[in-house]
Amino acid sequence: MNDIIIKNITRIIIPFAQAYGIFIIINGHISPGGGFAGGAIVGTSLILYTLVFGREKGKKKFSHKTSEIAESGGIMWFVTVGLIGLFIAGRFLTNLDAGFPEGVIGDILSGGMIPLLMIGIGIKVASTMISLFNLIIDEGI
């Protein structure tokens, strides 16, 4: 796809899209949305990039290694958050009793571990989408 218009517009759109996705992720616990939606948006933006600028550049932006680390990292993050709960409060995935910061209801920094988990989920979903997409277009028909 060597259409100048699409390339430019993509260049303009992608930052907004990603910003929006990240916004949704970190606002997941006070407004509609959350890790899945946000992660999907971020992932889509990167897919769009690959579609427009081709696989090679896409690789540069988000390499195979990165995606792998993100893959494992998402779950690792989730598990670590859970384990903190286990070690402090004696239960896996404990939220406030494990001493996560309560914050003020309605703020970004509230809800204890929920935002953290949301971020983990977001990373996970985004990276999964991208790597699945890459796998299919690498080996696809």
Binding site: V79, L93, G111
Partner: protein, 99 residues
Amino acid sequence: MRKILSNSLFIILFIILVYGIFQMPTGANINAPAYNDIVNHYLNSGVSETNASNIIAAILADYRGFDTLGETIVLFTSVVAVGSVLRSTKYDKEVRDHE
């Protein structure tokens, strides 16, 4: 013949299920059996327990956080599985030539 048979099967199934639905507690109001004390607990004291104003997020990440973990594992697994199918066709080609 077989098509007619299968279609009639589907019709019967559909009718049975719709008939079943008519016997179900389908009232879309807060008296439905599904809308029980658990829901009320979430709605009333969910915020104070988790400090998150989005109850769905609270349930998703806190009350039923373990489900969410499982689901991230599903994603991970799907990536690994798809990788195991799609990565490195080299061997595959050899096999096809070999056979």
